[in-house]
């Protein structure tokens, strides 16, 4: 049957079997392969996408159920081609990823947290990513990335939502001020880790 999905701000249509998951539809029909199948039973979180801003397991949702919702995938998170969101940049900064397979889901879960909470506690971050299994990192550097991103977003002194792209509406942001924040973060990398672990 025909579905119309608003994916990363663009309305896209596809003809799918009713039993086709949102995950398979994103990967096969729209060639958005950033969402990954890690367990197909809704437990690992590698397939996480945002549905109207909330993290959802795209392996447990049929494409037809997503009809009419705003879908955000990892491909839609960067503010512009060649740029990174503050959170994406923070994952690089703190080494919040290794093999990269769980990473899109991990970033989207964290993104949803930062959208609703500007100063999350460690426990809140842990809870936000507790549905995403990472086998590589031991989570410490992921938690550090989210804390770091939250701190930079606060320091940027910009209203939240302008530094992070709006769910479903990427490509219109950010301002020059946000670019400065990103560049600042990159330059900080050399000093951020000179003492080894924090």
């Amino acid at each position: 049957m025909k579905v119309a999905l608003r994916i990363n701000g663009t309305l896209r249509e596809a003809e799918v079997e009713p039993r086709k998951t949102l995950l398979d539809t994103l990967r096969e029909n729209f060639h958005l392969t950033g969402a990954h199948a890690g367990c197909e039973h809704g437990v690992c979180g590698a397939c996480t996408v945002l549905v109207d801003g909330a993290p959802m397991r795209s392996c447990l949702m049929f494409a037809v159920q997503a009809d009419g919702y705003e879908i955000t995938t990892i491909e839609g998170l960067a503010p512009a081609p060649g740029e990174l969101s503050v959170l994406q940049d923070a994952f690089c900064e703190t080494h919040g990823l290794q093999c990269g397979f769980c990473t899109p889901g991990m970033i989207l879960s964290s993104h949803a947290l930062l959208e609703r909470e500007g100063s999350p506690s460690r426990q809140e971050i842990v809870e936000a990513i507790s549905g995403n299994i990472c086998r590589c990192t031991g989570y410490g550097q992921i938690i550090e990335a989210v804390e770091f991103a939250a701190e930079r977003l606060r320091k940027a002194n910009a209203p939240r939502g302008s530094a992070l792209p709006h769910v479903g509406a990427p490509g219109t942001e950010p301002s020059a001020q946000d670019d400065a924040a990103i560049e600042h973060g990159i330059l900080e990398a050399a000093t951020a880790h000179d003492g080894g672990p924090k």
């Binding site: 990954h36 890690g38 197909e40 039973h41 437990v43 690992c44 690089c92 086998r135 672990p197």
Partner: protein, 792 residues
């Protein structure tokens, strides 16, 4: 520091590969599709042990979308050989190990739940699955044995005719007479019975494969989730007989974690590449998580009885070990080396033990094959050594740290009684630093404070050693390895001065694109962004042995150093002609060739360009171009070592264990990128904590896998783990040019005994099994309470 900077060794450089992963542009095997591709689905055995009387595919083959249904008979008809185990172990009596036939699709018997019965190839995966359900298999179900300790029982069902008593080999290492003599003079003998629990590696990317056949060139291509694509090609070519090596290209693109489980050559990729010619179209298979639990090689699964002999003052005199290692239903690619040369050779730990004897029986059971999983043999050795050492200290009423210190090896090189010659280390330094970082001295006060809150608090040490960077080819050859364990590298300098490095190492999360580029950047004085690392394609990289055993730094990067030496030597010759100076006067530093004592010089890129235009030097003497290759064979294993300290609290009412502090102090030799090393340590500890507290593969008595999903097999999540405190000490490794020891496995090796030593300290009993789940801990506490009440 970013990629446009010239890097140095030891700098926490951001990873070059990250950009594609955080933007969803990673290219994993399942992300790829080939024109005309078909989908494969494997029909797997629902029984742990059965004879196949007949397979009827008639109805299934007629279903919509089905392209072909192939069985073991088709494999045999095409002369496709068995999967192999590439490490020969000889039993004590001199006989070679008993390798049961391991066809990629079962011939007449299935030996574990998940064993491959047939492959259905169809237009879509759903069509393949539907058809698989219609294949009729007539099984004669046989009794099964899944338990390690039951495999050799006289009445146990037999898996392979060639292996009576289900015994693969009965092997020993060390001097039995000397060990017996040490025990006869001992003041104390500490006995210990241990189980090292079976684990599922569970990289989050499931295995996948696409086989493709080009009838024009009579050549195959296999995309697969491999840690070592060249080895996959070698095995599929030389042993399985799919195609000659020059007609088989193996590509391992981005790989989403491996932890050992993607070293091996499995049935599925073998079938995909073979079937691609059969059906004349590409054949793709992607594992789902259920299949991964059933058919990825598992890790660990040992049962051990050991005894430690001590003198009256707590000095270790001898160590005696008897282990039964479960190999599963078939011998996986390197299975036989894990409980032997990667296990018994580490039984000396960090300690000066005059006599060691180890006997290992490897057994077949009706379970998934067992092979290398992060640490591979060394976690089993370290768990045993660090548990028995801790128990010995407790038995003698000595402090665990003091007991260890009394027995430390303190001079190097040190020859152990079990093959290994440790080249460098300072075990006291890592112990001191770990005790300081963990405030070991303050533990009694914290324990008392916890007791006041009704919590049981414990602290545990783990002084691990591992042998990494495997390894000198002649040495491993003499121990039975079917391959050499060198590494290759090729440094291609382009005319514009940027560089491609082709390496036989393979990154599946380790960050080689960054660390290897750091090495080249620092050595040639060119920015990181001008260095590209190429790996994972047998058509690009000539040969390589892949990534496992923490070998990519120590061995893979050493090969790059060797190639860089050659590049620099040739470039100096060219620079000498360009600068009209004698070659001996040319110096190379910070990316410039200069004439010693003058201000005349050339940038690296200028020399690179001239190497290709070849106008200014005699090509009769110097060949044009600037490209050098090297094969590096290590001179020894490397020996990372360190001390991990775990402190935890148990809630006696719920049995829940909370790790409140975890300190890891590691000596990895020279560190290239401390940020990446920290990540490796964290990830390793997480897997080690997982083994100790959460993870365990369980088969029931009939050989059915009980823990077949993430709902049943507990993976560590963010809330299960504390922040880790990491420290480094450094003794340079003398056995390779960079002084690297390797860091990938330390956490998984060190953490389990640290956690269990802490838990046994908290609970006041040594009998705590892994995984020490809340239910088991609660039962232990309940039993203790019952005994205490009965005594009142």
């Amino acid at each position: 520091m970013n990629a446009s900077t010239i890097s140095t060794i030891g700098a926490p450089v951001r990873r070059k590969e990250d950009h594609r992963f955080i933007t969803g542009k990673g290219r994993y095997t399942d992300d790829m599709n080939r024109p005309g591709q078909t989908q494969a689905y494997f029909l797997r055995s629902p029984h742990a042990h059965a004879r196949i009387r007949a397979i009827d595919t008639t109805a299934a083959a007629a279903m919509p979308g089905v392209v072909a249904i192939l069985t073991g008979a088709d494999l045999a008809a095409d002369g496709v050989g068995d999967l192999i185990c590439g490490w020969m172990i000889h039993s004590v009596d001199g006989t070679p190990m008993r390798m049961g036939s391991h066809p990629a699709l079962a011939k007449d018997t299935v030996r574990y739940v998940g064993d491959h019965v047939a492959v259905v190839i169809a237009e879509t995966l759903n069509a393949a699955k539907d058809a698989a359900a219609a294949v009729e298999v007539d099984y004669d179900v046989l009794p099964a044995v899944a338990e390690t300790g039951r495999a050799q029982a006289p009445d146990a069902p037999q898996l392979h005719e060639v292996a009576p008593g289900n015994t693969v080999f009965s092997w020993e290492l060390g001097d039995k007479a000397a060990t017996d003599a040490a025990f006869s003079g001992a003041a104390h003998v500490i006995p210990l019975d241990l189980v090292n629990n079976r684990l599922a590696p569970n990289p989050i990317e499931p295995r996948a494969a696409i086989g493709e056949y080009d009838s024009g060139d009579d050549a195959f291509t296999l995309w697969t989730t491999s840690q070592n694509p060249h080895l996959a090609r070698l095995v599929l070519s030389a042993f399985v007989g799919i195609a000659p090596e020059n007609k088989l290209r193996v590509i391992a693109p981005d790989v989403g974690g491996g932890f050992g489980s993607k070293i091996f050559i499995y049935a599925e990729e073998t079938v995909c590449v073979w079937a691609a010619k059969r059906v004349g179209r590409p054949v793709k298979w992607t594992s789902d998580r259920s299949e991964a639990f059933l058919s990825d090689a598992h890790g660990r699964d040992h049962i051990t009885h050991a005894e430690l002999a001590l003198d009256a003052h707590g000095k270790i005199l001898g160590f005696r070990v008897k282990t039964t290692a479960n190999m599963g239903a078939y011998l996986s690619t390197f299975a036989s080396s894990i409980p032997t040369y990667l296990y018994a050779t580490l039984l000396s730990g960090q300690y000066d033990i005059p006599a060691i004897h180890c006997h290992v029986d490897a057994v077949y059971t009706n379970t998934a094959p067992v092979d290398a999983y992060r640490g591979a043999g060394r976690p089993e050795a370290t768990f045993l050594v660090e548990r028995i050492v801790e128990i010995a200290a407790r038995t003698l009423k000595m402090d665990g740290a003091a007991f260890r210190r009394r027995n430390f090896i303190t001079s190097f090189p040190h020859q152990t009684p079990v093959i290994m010659a440790y080249d460098a280390g300072d075990y006291g330094a890592s112990l001191d630093k770990a005790l300081m970082l963990s405030d070991y001295a303050g533990f009694p006060a914290r324990k008392a404070e916890a007791a006041a809150r009704g919590k049981l608090r414990g602290i545990g040490l783990s002084n691990y050693i591992e042998a990494c960077g495997i390894a000198p080819s002649a040495a491993v050859g003499s121990l039975g390895a079917g391959v050499g364990l060198w590494e290759s590298a090729e440094v291609r300098v382009n005319p514009t001065g940027n560089v491609e490095v082709l390496t036989g190492s393979h990154s599946h999360g380790q960050g080689h694109e960054t660390t290897f580029a750091q090495l080249v950047s620092s050595r040639l004085g060119i920015p990181m962004e001008q260095v590209s690392i190429v790996h994972g394609d047998t058509d690009k990289v000539q040969f390589g042995m892949g990534t496992y055993g923490s070998r990519s730094g120590a061995v893979g990067m050493s090969a790059i150093v060797k190639a860089l030496d050659k590049v620099e030597a040739k470039a100096k010759k060219i620079a000498a002609y360009m600068l009209e100076a004698s070659e001996g006067d040319i110096e190379f530093k910070d990316g410039r060739f200069t004439v010693a004592g003058t201000d005349r010089g050339l940038a690296f890129a200028e020399v690179a360009l001239n190497a290709y235009v070849a106008h200014k030097f005699p090509t009769s003497e110097i060949e044009p171009g600037l490209k050098e290759g090297a094969f590096y064979d290590p001179t020894n294993f490397t020996f990372p070592a360190g001390c991990h300290v775990c402190e935890l609290e148990v809630d006696p009412d719920t049995g829940v264990t909370e790790i409140v502090n975890f300190v890891a102090v590691d000596d990895f030799g020279v560190v290239i990128n401390p940020m990446i090393v920290e990540g490796q340590v964290h990830g390793g500890i997480a897997q080690g904590v997982g083994q100790a507290l959460l993870e365990g593969v369980h088969y029931d008595g009939d050989g059915q896998l009980v823990t077949g999903s993430f709902m049943d097999y507990t993976m560590p999540r963010a809330g299960n783990l504390p922040s880790f405190r990491i420290g480094l000490t450094e003794t340079r490794c003398p056995s390779n040019p960079l002084g690297i020891k390797g860091c990938g496995e330390a956490g998984a090796i060190a953490a389990p005994p640290a956690v269990i030593n802490a838990l046994t300290s908290a609970l006041g009993t040594e009998d705590v099994p892994m995984p020490a789940t809340p239910a088991k801990v609660w039962q232990i506490i309940q039993a203790q309470r019952a005994v205490a009440q009965a005594a009142e």
